[in-house]
């Protein structure tokens, strides 16, 4: 099967733009009517939602940031009464408070449709056996992918806490035909297979679909050659939306945006002016069909550019290049978005009120992103008793995992060693 929603994925441009305009206008009307944050923001800027008369007019509206999501914790941005919400989906976010996204029954159906498009474009059909391997920080996506694959009718092995060798065993024994994971975890699996002296001939894999991190050409080539599969990528900002709001088709040349459900802009991260096709900028998303959690011009912090030409695959949906980087301080570690300030808050909680000096060291180990916190050894942490120090560090690791869903390593360092790096506290040393 080539398309999941043939009709919607191949709409004539003019029809698509009419649908986008209608949905944008009703989204603005609903958001203005039901969400205080938006009505206040529009009123204070003197913006009339009734004045948006083209899709391009969206540029007149203010942005919504991750900070706004945090400030309106937990339910401030919901546009329907809680009784209509059937799924409450928190994620760490990048502010003090987590981000809570709500879904109505209808919203979940839309998410399934969008996810199913991504999976279908990557070659998933109803007879496939789909295995999902994501780290716990991406558990919302794990669910979205599971439900999307189920709506296609595939047999799904949801994400679990199995070790890589167990995952590989399952992949071999259950005859998994599609693997859904991150690029780095796929590479990691490859490494483990080498150690175990296995090769892809023992597997029944036909496709790998990756999310969470940008897929580099080199990684794609390596994985395709080693696993004898097609590798395609999906994109979504991990904290607020599903994993495949933009997805590659088998042309593997850019990601098709589900434009009938989302309006995607690329803007200059500094001034906010729209970027022409081909010029990289920050991806800004507006939902067009979301009922529970409408987002108007949400700044994702991801950098990419739009592509101009239509794709030979037949989809008329516009394309986005792969994500080329991130704005500001937000780090993406194994697909999970982390702000250095979040780590600082965790350190504060564990070490008491004061804020210790630290650096964040990111590196790759067996193709996986690793995060290591270099913590200055101070009297508050240091104790003569090894036990006490150990206990504090264990607690720190636990907190990191709980708050961010990431396994972090903690390294205690002398103040003078930290000085060598000439980075302010909270600085990032990225060796990836």
């Amino acid at each position: 099967m080539k398309f999941w929603n043939g009709e919607n994925e191949q709409m004539v441009r003019e029809d698509l733009e009419q649908v986008q305009l209608e949905r944008l206008q009703s989204t603005l009307n609903r958001a203005y009517k039901n969400v205080q944050f938006y009505s206040k923001q529009f009123d204070s800027l003197g913006i009339d939602p009734g004045a948006v008369s083209s899709v391009q007019d969206i540029a007149k509206l203010p942005f919504t940031t991750r900070k706004d999501l945090g400030d309106n914790y937990p339910y401030g941005l919901f546009a329907v009464p809680l009784r209509d919400i059937v799924r409450i989906s928190p994620s760490a976010g990048t502010a003090v408070k987590p981000v809570v996204v709500g879904y109505t029954k209808g919203d979940l159906k839309v998410r399934d449709t969008i996810t199913a498009r991504f999976l279908t474009a990557g070659g998933v059909i109803d007879t496939d056996i789909v295995q999902i391997c994501l780290n716990p920080g991406l558990s919302n996506w794990g669910r979205a992918l599971k439900e999307g694959a189920e709506s296609i009718g595939a047999s799904v092995m949801p994400m679990s806490h199995m070790s890589t060798s167990k995952q590989l065993m399952a992949m071999e024994d259950y005859r998994t035909s599609v693997l859904l994971t991150t690029p780095s975890y796929a590479m990691h699996m490859l490494g483990v297979m080498e150690v175990m002296n296995k090769d892809a001939n023992s597997l029944a894999l036909k496709a790998i679909l990756v999310v969470g991190e940008p897929l580099k050409d080199k990684t794609r080539r390596l994985l395709e050659a080693a696993f004898f599969v097609d590798v395609t990528a999906g994109y979504g900002p991990s904290d607020v939306m599903g994993p495949g709001i933009a997805f590659e088709c088998r042309q593997k040349d850019g990601l098709h945006i589900s434009e009938d459900h989302l309006l995607l802009e690329v803007v200059d991260p500094n001034g906010g002016a729209p970027c022409p096709p081909g010029q990289a900028g920050e991806v800004v998303i507006t939902t067009l069909t979301a009922r529970a959690f409408p987002l108007i011009r949400f700044r994702t912090g991801d950098l990419a550019s739009t592509m101009e030409k239509t794709c030979p695959c037949g989809r008329t949906l516009a394309r986005l290049t792969g994500i080329t980087g991130h704005t500001g301080e937000v780090l993406t570690i194994r697909g999970v978005k982390v702000h250095p300030a979040q780590i600082e808050r965790i350190l504060k909680v564990v070490s008491g009120a004061f804020s210790p000096r630290f650096l964040i060291h990111l590196f790759k180990e067996k193709h996986l992103d690793m995060i290591e916190i270099w913590l200055e050894m101070t009297d508050a942490i240091f104790s003569d008793e090894v036990k006490v120090v150990e206990k504090a560090l264990t607690r720190l690791r636990q907190q990191m995992f709980q708050m961010l869903g990431l396994e972090a390593r903690i390294k205690l360092m002398e103040a003078s060693t930290l000085d060598d790096y000439a980075a302010p506290s909270g600085g990032v040393i990225d060796d990836r």
Partner: protein, 249 residues
């Protein structure tokens, strides 16, 4: 087929439509639902040229029809069945139907008109039985059939129906709705306004929900029938108890 962009319409200084955009594809039944005064009828009247719009564009089969006079709009292939039927009471059923083809008489399409009458009698056998009866003495359901039949005599491609179920008994409403469904099968596209949201959503493909002159929601009829907001506001389901009551039809 029909494409409306950013329509603003006023009654005096009162804004009746605020930035309404909608579209109807060939062969679809699309319904507009909403409370009294939400602007549903205003949309139909603006399309048919009865009311002038202040701003916005209306395209029919890719040509602009906003600003055209009502008879030009009929000529383009759009007929409206007004709210409350508005048939010519003192005239006979046949005369009412013939008036519907007024523009075509001028074009000397007499033969074709005869054929169309036959088609309408097939759709509404009751009208043939009452051919010479004075229209004002017909029952409500029959009058509605006559009003639809009269609009069809202009051979519209798009039919605008304003509250076809108004004032009719539940059983008759079902008849009318079935007829509208059958009409679509004969190739007529339909844009319909209805207070009876449930009955109209059941036969339509898509719907738009209007509130104080604005579109607040759109979707397939199935989506709207299952939407909690729509259920609360227009399907008569109480906020506290969402039990499947037995509403009309």
């Amino acid at each position: 087929m029909l494409r409306i962009k950013n329509l603003h319409t006023y009654y005096g200084r009162i804004q009746a439509l605020d930035n309404v955009s909608l579209h109807v594809r060939v062969g679809e039944i699309v319904c507009l639902i909403g409370a009294n005064g939400a602007g549903k009828t205003t949309i139909l009247n603006t399309v048919s040229g009865l009311i002038r719009r202040a701003q916005g564009e209306i395209f029919f089969e890719n040509s602009k029809i906003n600003g055209l006079s009502p008879e030009k709009v009929v000529g383009a292939g759009i007929s409206q069945v007004p709210e409350g039927r508005q048939i010519f009471g003192p005239l006979s059923v046949l005369e009412n139907l013939q008036l519907g083809a007024y523009l075509r008489f001028k074009k000397k399409e007499k033969m074709a008109i005869e054929q169309d009458l036959e088609r309408i009698f097939q759709l509404f056998p009751r009208l043939r039985e009452r051919l010479t009866q004075i229209a004002g003495t017909l029952s409500g359901g029959e009058q509605q059939m006559l009003a639809i039949g009269r609009a069809l005599m202009a051979r519209p491609k798009l039919l605008l129906l304003d509250e076809p179920s108004m004032g009719l008994a539940p059983l008759v409403v079902r008849d009318i709705m079935n007829t509208i469904s059958a009409l679509r099968d004969t190739g007529v596209t339909i844009l319909m306004v209805e207070q009876n949201a449930r009955a109209s959503l059941r036969i339509s493909d898509r719907g738009y929900v209007l509130e104080t002159g604005r579109v607040v929601l759109q979707g397939s009829s199935e989506e709207l029938l299952n939407d909690n907001d729509v259920k609360r506001a227009y399907l008569g389901k109480d906020y506290k108890t969402f039990w499947e009551g037995r509403g009309p039809v």
